[in-house]
């Protein structure tokens, strides 16, 4: 389809991964026991999430053909899921920025929990609005549970992978937990991807998307072995990078596969 769908794929993927980082950060902050390292890493995670969200927003502008009128995009909150999505995105960005600044300048009067919960709730609403935006009755290619599931899996995959990268050296015990969770989620994502392609009668074993899926699954084996043996190897980087690329390619595939009815 049109090239601008790539920027749409980047927008959705980055935004969802950013929400995933915030959610998984909340999990990490509660299971980690090392207070000092936890605070520093938590701050880095927030910054990463913020950067990803801003980058996603910039890509969303890139898919508009007339961005000068972009302020009109929240005019139709009454019936347009896209309007609701954009409003939620703006609210999330504001809250996340505020949270980051509170953390950065150590304003203790504002408890972190006060901002953490609204950010996560807004993020979840945003993912729901994104799903509804694409679940149009006329886009029958996407009208299947595997498509919304792919959005949710991006949230979880993006979150767990980035948290793992942040803590694998400083906090190895919870890192392994995130790694195992990530690997399970990846297998679910690949299975979901297969269902999506079978539903659309477009399953091919040897195209770019399927080859990446296969390579990711194969690379998960040495990576898991390295984790069990408590070794830090290049296989980790390879596996996680391949997994994230695979998930992103799935997004590109599902959005570019979608064609107008006629």
């Amino acid at each position: 389809m049109e090239n601008y769908n790539i920027s749409l794929a980047l927008f959705t993927w980055l935004t969802q991964a950013s929400i995933g980082v915030v959610i998984m950060r909340a999990v990490y902050m509660r299971i980690s026991t090392d207070n000092d390292k936890r605070k520093i890493t938590g701050q880095k995670m927030l910054f990463t999430s913020l950067v990803m969200l801003v980058a996603g927003l910039l890509f969303s502008f890139a898919h508009l053909n007339y961005p000068l009128h972009a302020y009109n995009a929240i005019n139709n909150l009454g019936s347009s899921w896209m309007s609701r999505e954009i409003l939620a995105e703006v609210i999330l960005l504001t809250l996340l920025l505020l949270w980051y600044l509170v953390n950065r300048f150590k304003i203790k009067k504002l408890s972190h929990v006060i901002l953490e919960i609204p950010v996560i709730v807004t993020g979840l609403f945003l993912v729901y609005f994104m799903i509804r935006t694409y679940m149009l009755p006329t886009l029958y290619e996407l009208n299947h549970p595997s498509f919304p599931l792919s959005f949710i899996s991006t949230v979880l995959l993006g979150g767990t992978s980035l948290i793992y990268f942040f803590i694998k050296k400083t906090d190895p015990f919870p890192a392994v937990k995130f790694k195992i969770l990530f690997t399970i989620l990846l297998y679910i994502t690949v299975f979901n991807y297969l269902i999506f392609r079978i539903y659309n009668n477009s399953l091919k074993l040897f195209d770019l998307y399927s080859i990446f899926c296969l390579a990711t699954i194969i690379s998960s084996v040495p990576s898991l072995i390295a984790s069990v043996k408590n070794k830090n190897r290049i296989s980790d980087v390879l596996f996680l990078s391949l997994a994230l690329i695979t998930d992103f390619l799935y997004r590109v595939y599902s959005l570019t596969y979608t064609n107008p009815a006629l």
Binding site: N72, A73, T138
Partner: protein, 204 residues
């Protein structure tokens, strides 16, 4: 509000594309930007008659533009409210609000809204607003050499031509309540996804 609509006679249409060209000419559209388009449907099947196989090919054409639906999904979906229902009941785009996101194209079952690359905003059939407000037919209707298109109030068209709105490969009319009446080509009754295709998909 009384709604306008089109009558499309697929039994008479020869697929000459005069309506398409007249629309492009009148609205000064760039090549490739189609507000009205002709869908060429081709199909057929092999029939086994006691060991002798015979072919039954068929082809017909469906002239399609915006159907100015009574329940337009494009209007509901448009985030900017640029897509709106006008004072005369047609569906039109406010160019001062449109951001060119293309979401209306995804929502429309007839793929009617198209991106105008020149302006960077969406565009579509406005039912020749200027012509119908001066008691003239839309230009596509007057241009058709086969008289396969007609225009008027949808209740009058239904009285005159019946109420069929379905034909392969269009979506179910229950989705958006399009203001059209279709006279089906005889072969369209046996056309389905299994034995027919849109032959000019790339052109659309």
């Amino acid at each position: 509000m009384r709604r306008y609509g089109f009558y499309i006679d697929t039994a008479n249409c020869t697929g000459c594309k005069t309506c398409q060209v007249a629309c492009q000419d009148k609205n000064d559209l760039d090549p490739g930007l189609l507000w009205r388009k002709i869908i060429d449907v081709e199909g057929g099947e092999w029939v086994d008659d006691n060991g002798i196989f015979s072919t039954y090919p068929f082809a017909y054409h469906v002239s399609m533009a915006c159907n100015h639906c009574s329940e337009p999904l494009c209007v509901d979906s448009c985030p900017t409210q640029a897509m709106h229902i006008t004072d005369i009941g047609t569906v039109d785009i406010d160019q001062d609000k449109c951001i060119g996101c293309g979401y209306c194209t995804w929502a429309c079952p007839y793929d009617a809204p198209r991106l105008n690359h020149r302006s960077g905003r969406m565009s579509k059939c406005n039912l020749c607003y200027d012509r119908i407000t001066s008691n003239q037919n839309p230009v596509c209707v007057d241009a058709c050499p086969m008289r396969a298109l007609d225009f008027g109030y949808i209740d009058e068209l239904k009285e005159k031509y019946g109420s069929n709105r379905s034909i392969f490969p269009l979506y179910s009319p229950a989705l958006t309540e399009p203001n059209i009446v279709i006279r089906p080509h005889k072969d369209s009754l046996k056309a389905s996804e299994k034995n027919a295709i849109i032959a000019n998909r790339e052109e659309l």
